[in-house]
Symmetry: C2
Subunit: 139 residues, 2 copies
Amino acid sequence: MQCKRNFSAKREAIYRTLSSTDSHPTAEWIYEKLKVQIPDLSLGTVYRNLSVFKEAGLIKSVGVINGHERFDWDTSQHSHFVCSCCFRIIDIPKSRMFIDQNTLSHLENECDVHIQGHSITFYGLCGDCSKNSIESEDN
Amino acid sequence: MQCKRNFSAKREAIYRTLSSTDSHPTAEWIYEKLKVQIPDLSLGTVYRNLSVFKEAGLIKSVGVINGHERFDWDTSQHSHFVCSCCFRIIDIPKSRMFIDQNTLSHLENECDVHIQGHSITFYGLCGDCSKNSIESEDN
DNA sequence: TAATAATTAAGAACAGTTATCGTTTTGGAG
DNA sequence: CTCCAAAACGATAACTGTTCTTAATTATTA
């Protein structure tokens, strides 16, 4: 991959689809979304380009949630909340939970490691699932 | 599963193998380790019992690292370091990096979620891989 | 002992992802 | 524009970690 300006039409569409949502989608989701506009798109192409983007540092993986890798266009340091019920992923405001450089340095010494990054994931029930589980108790 | 005392011999062996290492192993690793002593052990049995333990809250999953689910006998709240090179997982001392209840409460309100837990993962190079990558530069 | 429940091995099935391969598209040079 | 090489592509097979099925075995209870 050269630079962003040289994206092929499909590559561009895949990147645009990912970067226009905050839902931290799967490859499949992006594929389904784009198939409407680009009927001859292949799922393999979505996977391949997501790998290309990831390798180029243009996107990040949130990790494998419920068996599906989830992607994030926002490569800046931020935390996520993952709903254990519907597997929705919600961004935690960036102002929160920042681990300072001093702590990282101490950790590196203490554990004999070289830290390049970190991720904080909260899990529990999202608002909707929380509400639903209360409603379904009313029987 | 009833209670820990009623473990079958193989279930017991699987739990013992996991709980006697800090390597956060995969199902495969436990299987290979036990196959020596228990030749008629099946990999499916290891997977099944790990699920049973997880469901019972006896063990935790560290998540899927490099395509393999990693398990941890230590269910208490603690953080991990994951080496991006050899995928070793190192426990971070429990004294470090805990997020207080007050912060969690604020987060729950701010994001409209119900937080049940969280995990902090640091990544980078472990001591060994860091050393090796420096050595291989000397060419 | 007989009936019942729990656990297991073996291997088939499954799902998400990656690799292969022949074709098409793209972008630069002449 | 035309040619060419490199990049990207679609289709689909292959791969891999995990789960499921089934029949057999083992443990428990009556």
